[in-house]
């Protein structure tokens, strides 16, 4: 499945680029998380990782679709 992965904050430092094309065998957010944590083990050291699709947080069971833009959200720290 072709996805675009967008990363911010510390995730942007760990992943190869702010915007990053993936061609990957995954169904759910959970699959994507597992795959990313294997390829980029530093992600496992983070306090949390969340994912957003279409500007909404999505849980592990969320089913990804071809060409989704997925945003990886490390622990937020606004304010």
């Amino acid at each position: 499945m072709k996805l675009t992965l967008i990363s911010y904050g510390i995730a942007r430092d760990i992943l190869p680029a702010h915007k990053h094309a993936l061609d990957i065998e995954v169904n759910t957010i959970e699959d994507l998380k597992t795959s990313l944590c294997k390829d980029y083990p530093e992600l496992k050291n983070l306090q949390s990782i969340s994912f957003a699709v279409n500007e909404e947080y999505r849980d592990d069971a969320f089913i990804l679709s071809e060409n989704d833009e997925v945003v990886i959200i490390p622990p937020v720290a606004g304010g």
Binding site: Y8, L46, P74, V76, A77, G78, G79
Partner: protein, 138 residues
């Protein structure tokens, strides 16, 4: 009225306060978050903020909607700054007006507490000898 903005220029408290004034309002509460000069005793030189802007605005709108539902707020103004901030610079201003003051305090505290949990904005602390994304690691 709800006004949510992410800005790269300095934030103005008066601007937010004026936005939420209303002839029927008796109380305005404002939270101003400023950049502290230290974290856990270590001197901070400056902060760098970045936002996933479209989603950050959407999440701040959710917060404002909840404030209106739960506390009957008249108007809410949230301005968040991004980019490089120096010590004492304002990172966020949240202003809310209500008929009575108690609601304004509760709604404003809810807003800043929730903003820090859900809004996709990140900050990096720059020290003399390095830098660190805030809250990234356990």
């Amino acid at each position: 009225m709800i006004e949510i903005k992410i800005l790269s220029e300095p934030l103005l408290v008066d601007a937010c306060s004026k936005k939420v004034q209303d002839p029927a309002a008796g109380g305005i509460n404002i939270f101003v978050g400023t950049v502290r000069n230290q974290t856990k005793g270590k001197a901070v030189l400056r902060l760098e903020f970045e936002a996933y802007e479209s989603m950050a605005i959407s999440e701040m709108n959710k917060i404002a909607n909840t404030m209106q539902e739960k506390w009957d707020c008249f108007h809410i103004c949230i301005h968040h700054r991004v980019g490089v901030l120096n010590i004492q610079d304002i990172a966020v201003v949240i202003a809310v007006s209500c008929a009575h003051r108690k609601a304004s305090f509760e709604a404003c505290q809810y807003a800043i507490d929730t903003l820090k949990q859900t809004v996709p904005i990140w900050k990096k602390e720059i020290f003399e000898d390095g830098e660190e994304w805030v809250s990234a690691h356990p």
